[in-house]
Symmetry: C2
Subunit: 161 residues, 2 copies
């Protein structure tokens, strides 16, 4: 039900939150979060258009988070790349319904509204600081550290400056 | 967020509920619910595979509802044509997560679970008998009656035998 684009954008934002305030190159991030590089570049462009990430070109360029994780909800990320659209008028175009939805479409719309509300109430900070021992993208750091010949460190120690 | 297939299948089932226990030809239904005929035929096949409609070939053939509307939920219709898939394992394939989801994917999965629950708790009977004056497919009958040169009738009077 969630598109690949939504999944990739959430991974990207979670990764940037993890290393914030570091600027990460698209190539490095693509490898870390297992997303094709060209696809990731497009996702980041959408996120930049919505002021969620800042992208910088050239040497030393890449992307970083544009905002504090406490000010960024899952909903904003989703709506920036593949918006959940509420049902505002009858999809059948029945003119007698006007702006009113029939019970069928009202039910569908309610489910969308509930999803929008749930995502709107969840910040990236909450996701990244959830007490659950399983962390978002938890293996990414470990793999990078192993690649660099370093021992695996707890999440906080591996953060950027 | 809901696919065209989901929208069309719900229209089809609502239409069959409205005229139940009548058998409606695919051509007639396609015109009534504004769905391309070939597309509708495929949707009906999926619904028949899940024992939601019964299809009959040949002259006088078509589709009818296989069950009482009180025994049929929106969820069953959706799952028959374009299933909402829960997130059961890490979409990144992180082996350390195993069967456990990280907080990010747990949040996405919770939203899916809530949608599944809402649709599972809503029967077609509830949708068709909602006290709202705006009825599902309400214009369809009116248009058909006008086509047939008959005056517009209240919903109940237009039902099949």
């Amino acid at each position: 039900m969630f598109s690949q684009t939504v999944e990739y954008s959430l991974r990207a934002v979670a990764h940037l939150a993890k290393v914030a305030p570091a600027v990460v190159s698209v190539r490095e991030m693509a490898s870390a979060i297992r997303v094709p590089e060209a696809y990731l570049a497009k996702v980041l462009q959408h996120l930049a258009d919505s002021n969620i990430v800042v992208t910088r070109r050239g040497k030393g360029g890449g992307a970083s988070l544009a905002r504090r994780t406490t000010d960024l909800t899952l909903l904003e990320v989703v709506q920036a790349v593949d918006p959940i659209q509420r049902i505002k008028t009858c999809p059948m175009g029945l003119s007698s319904h006007g702006a009113k939805l029939c019970p069928l479409h009202r039910h569908l719309d309610s489910a969308l509204a509930a999803m929008i509300e749930a995502f709107g109430n969840t910040t990236l900070h909450q996701i990244m600081n959830d007490p659950d021992p399983v962390k978002p993208l938890c293996e990414v750091e470990t793999e990078r550290l192993v690649e660099l010949g370093m021992p695996s460190l707890p999440s906080s120690a591996a953060k950027g400056p």
